[in-house]
């Protein structure tokens, strides 16, 4: 029994033209049993900054709360919104603090710079190693399936609507090949002027 696959769950983030998208499945399960279908793994950390926390569900909740705490204090001290790249370093620091007793999550960050609206995505491992890419990042129990879907479907400079379609298809078809993921999906498309949240109709098995 692997701790990272005890609850199951996946997150993808993709880069588009002046936009980013981040998506997650909605299952909360205990090994093979599905307990609920409204357990989202993406949390809003700023008006244009989102973090996905797939992995052990208890740590998903705890890390989201602790991150929000650190971000709130930063915002109060600096009197400005945190940049996504800075947030990545905050996440990295929080995770490495627990280097020899880690949180069992592998986060995904997606957002736009608060001033320049430059898109940003990155992922980290469970002890805080950051990886910045300019195409897509995936994390979760169906990561191999998601890599295959993203590698074939993604192309550069997708607009918000095309990016929505691409990330949705990549996530849906990947989680349909994983027994501990799925049961619904939520997609966030983040643009300079708005954030669109859509709940996808998915296979519930």
């Amino acid at each position: 029994m692997s701790i990272m696959s005890y609850n199951g769950g996946d997150v993808i983030a993709m880069m588009g033209k002046n936009c980013v998208a981040i998506a997650c499945d909605r299952r909360f399960g205990i090994q093979a049993q599905t307990v609920s279908t409204d357990f989202d793994k993406i949390f809003e950390m700023g008006p244009k900054l989102f973090v996905g926390l797939p992995g052990l569900a208890t740590d998903t909740q705890t890390v989201a709360q602790r991150l929000k705490f650190r971000l709130n204090l930063y915002t109060l001290r600096e009197n400005r919104a945190m940049k996504p790249k800075t947030f990545m370093s905050v996440v990295s620091n929080l995770l490495y603090e627990k280097r020899f007793g880690p949180y069992f999550i592998e986060p995904v960050v997606a957002g736009l710079d608060p001033k320049t609206n430059e898109p940003f995505i990155c992922s980290l491992d469970l002890i805080g190693c950051p990886m910045v890419t300019d195409d897509f990042v995936v994390s979760g129990t169906a990561s191999e399936q998601m890599y295959g879907m993203c590698e074939s479907l993604w192309q550069p400079d997708l607009g918000p609507d095309d990016l929505f379609e691409t990330i949705s298809q990549a996530l849906m078809n990947a989680v349909d090949r994983d027994a501990t993921s799925g049961w619904g999906a939520k997609v966030y498309v983040i643009e300079a002027d708005k954030v669109t949240i859509k709940t996808l109709k998915a296979r519930m098995d």
Binding site: Q31, A32, Q33, T34, T37, D176, D178, A179, G184, D205
Partner: protein
């Protein structure tokens, strides 16, 4: 699962095979023919159940040549039982053997892990069955028609597929009567949906 009615049986199964958490096959056919009027539902190790049903199928075919009559369902069930019990330490196989014969009509035999064999009016098995014991016990009644049995099987499997990670895909049905075997597949939005949280 399998349900007996007056004139035959309805057998049904999901279509998911997993290796760990990877879904290796999402359209598996777990309803296997062992004789013209006898099917079995396979659960547990795919390799073990395929091997056992191949051997039972061979024995029944040989028997049919010798006796010049279609085999009895209880014969098939006892052949399954013989193998599952003798090799119980090496196998991981849960089988439901169901069908129709001229002598006793529709019958359902449950052969769970360990190799016991018991006839029941209906039987459920597999990892998803644990989630629907309450449902089937509350809904089942004797004297159901073929259509009621089909609805019962479909609803039960849909509920199990919703809760169990190792179950899913499509619902496969086989209705075995004197007339023969009718295969059905229930796909996508035709699968009943219940409370989804």
């Amino acid at each position: 699962m399998a349900v007996e009615f007056d004139g035959g049986v309805v057998v049904g199964a999901d279509s998911r095979t997993t290796t760990g958490s990877y879904i290796a096959n999402r359209v598996t056919d777990k309803l296997t023919k062992v004789a013209d009027y006898i099917y079995c539902c396979r659960s547990g190790s795919a390799a073990d159940t395929q091997a056992v049903s191949d051997i039972v199928s061979y024995h029944l075919d040989f028997l049919q040549s010798e006796t010049q009559e279609p085999p009895l369902v209880r014969t098939a069930a006892h052949l399954f039982k013989g193998m599952c019990y003798q090799y119980r330490d090496q196998l991981s196989a849960g089988i439901i053997c169901a069908g129709w014969d001229k002598k006793d009509g529709g019958q359902v035999y449950s052969i769970p892990i360990g190799g016991m064999c018991v006839q029941q009016p209906f039987a459920i098995g597999g990892s998803g069955s644990t989630y629907i014991y309450g449902y089937v016990d509350s809904v089942f009644k004797t004297g159901m028609t073929q259509e009621e049995c089909m609805k019962f099987v479909t609803n039960s499997l849909a509920l199990a597929m919703m809760r169990d990670g190792s179950s899913g895909g499509v619902i496969r049905l086989a209705i075995i009567t004197q007339k023969g075997v009718e295969r059905k597949v229930i796909v996508g939005s035709d699968i009943p949906r219940f409370y989804e949280g």
